[in-house]
Amino acid sequence: MTCLEMDAILSGGELTTEARQHLAGCPRCRALSQALSAAPAYKVDAAVLDRARGQVLQGLAPVRPLPPPGAFASLFLSIAGAIAVAAAALMRVRGLTSMSGSQAAVVFGLLLALLLGTSFVVALDMRPGARTVRGMVVSLVAIGAIEAVFLTLFSDYEAGRFLHSGVACFRMGLACAAATGAIAWLILRRGYVVAPVSTGASVGALAGLAGLAALELHCPIMNVPHLAIWHAGVLAASVAVGAAIGVWRRSA
């Protein structure tokens, strides 16, 4: 057994005969093992315990545990979907009809998958100690996947009225994202967020994807520069705003 394998034992593995032999023969690992197991008994002052107990017992009332993450994920997904469809319906659904069948299948399939994944991450973030994914990872994956699809699936690189139509799309996308983000943040308050910046980025990604979905349904412009900058920009901007709100909440 090597010192590296001994690390796994020190981190909670079973002390096997091999490990005991290694400890007997390796002074470095022996010293480390002894140092780490030399934790003395620990006591808290009775007055401190009493104060803690008083705080808890004072406001003790039955509470209902949060519904499972799946329920919240479905709620987040429904809200994002409903806002995207409602916004596109209000502005006329012209994007969907401008795409070919395969383009529509890939774009909306990816959006649905990303919305589902992000909804789950946000739902898991409502519980401390849940097995979750960092908001920045979720956001980077979403932005990367969307950009990759736009760059590979569409071939028209004509800029057209890049700024004029782009700003209009960006504003519409951000409006949808703001509505989704605000509702998601209100629901999130039912849980307990331990990493506001990461969760803020995840909520931003969810909101941005809702805004992006609305744009894909509504916008008939299929130019790569327009899609890659203005449509995907809604997602990136939402993530940035979500993370910034998280930073503000953390320091508040």
Binding site: C3, L4, D7, A8, L10, S11, G12, P27, R28, C29, A31, L32, Q34, A35, L36, S37, A38, A39, Y42, K43, V44, D45, V48, L49, R51, A52, R53, Q55, V56, L57, G59, L60, A61, P62, V63, R64, P65, L66, P68, M126, R127, P128, G129, A130, R131, T132, R134, G191, Y192, V194, A195, S198, S251
Partner: protein, 169 residues
């Protein structure tokens, strides 16, 4: 924990008595000021109470508990840094760092942990003092098991070197 969620006073009492020493010890690893650890314990008790509905019956409790405690510790650290800067501006002395124990026969765990970077110290204190498993530590710190293993390995290597140097001197 489920009885506590149902409003059982005895269960709440038992929970406080069981987890308080471990949580206080978790905070004490990061501060030489025992009163600060006392304050953090008060804070975490209140937050556990407020967040008790977020615990899911049947799930492991330690990651839930230590994720909240870690959040409280980070908040407390930020608050203390702010106070320290204010105190420095006003010329008030800072509390002393953990001192090397006089008894040099036994290595002092707090002294050893103080030599580690923040993230490695956190992982070692959760694994070796709080008694969490690798998976539970990963959940409490919002990282992967691989990342926890890597931090633990680096910490062990550093501690080995430190202990070897101590023996040599």
């Amino acid at each position: 924990m489920e009885a506590y969620q149902n409003g059982d006073r005895d269960a709440a009492n038992r929970l406080i008595e069981t987890v308080s020493p471990a949580l206080h010890r978790f905070f004490a690893v990061y501060t030489s000021d025992r009163r600060h650890a006392d304050d953090l314990l008060q804070d975490v008790s209140l937050r556990i109470h407020k967040a008790r509905h977020t615990y899911r019956p049947g799930e492991p409790m330690l990651p839930w508990l230590y994720a909240i405690a870690r959040h409280v510790r980070i908040d407390g650290y930020r608050r203390r840094e702010f106070e320290r800067r204010e105190a420095a501006l006003e010329g008030v002395a800072e509390p002393a760092a953990p001192a090397r124990p006089n008894d040099r026969s036994a290595p002092d765990l707090d002294y050893l942990l103080a030599s580690l970077p923040e993230s490695q110290r956190e992982v070692i204190s959760l694994l070796k003092i709080s008694g969490l498993s690798l998976e539970e530590t990963a959940r409490a710190t919002r990282s992967s098991v691989g990342s926890v293993k890597q931090k633990a390995h680096r910490a062990y290597e550093k501690l080995r070197s430190l202990l070897t140097a101590e023996v040599a001197s």
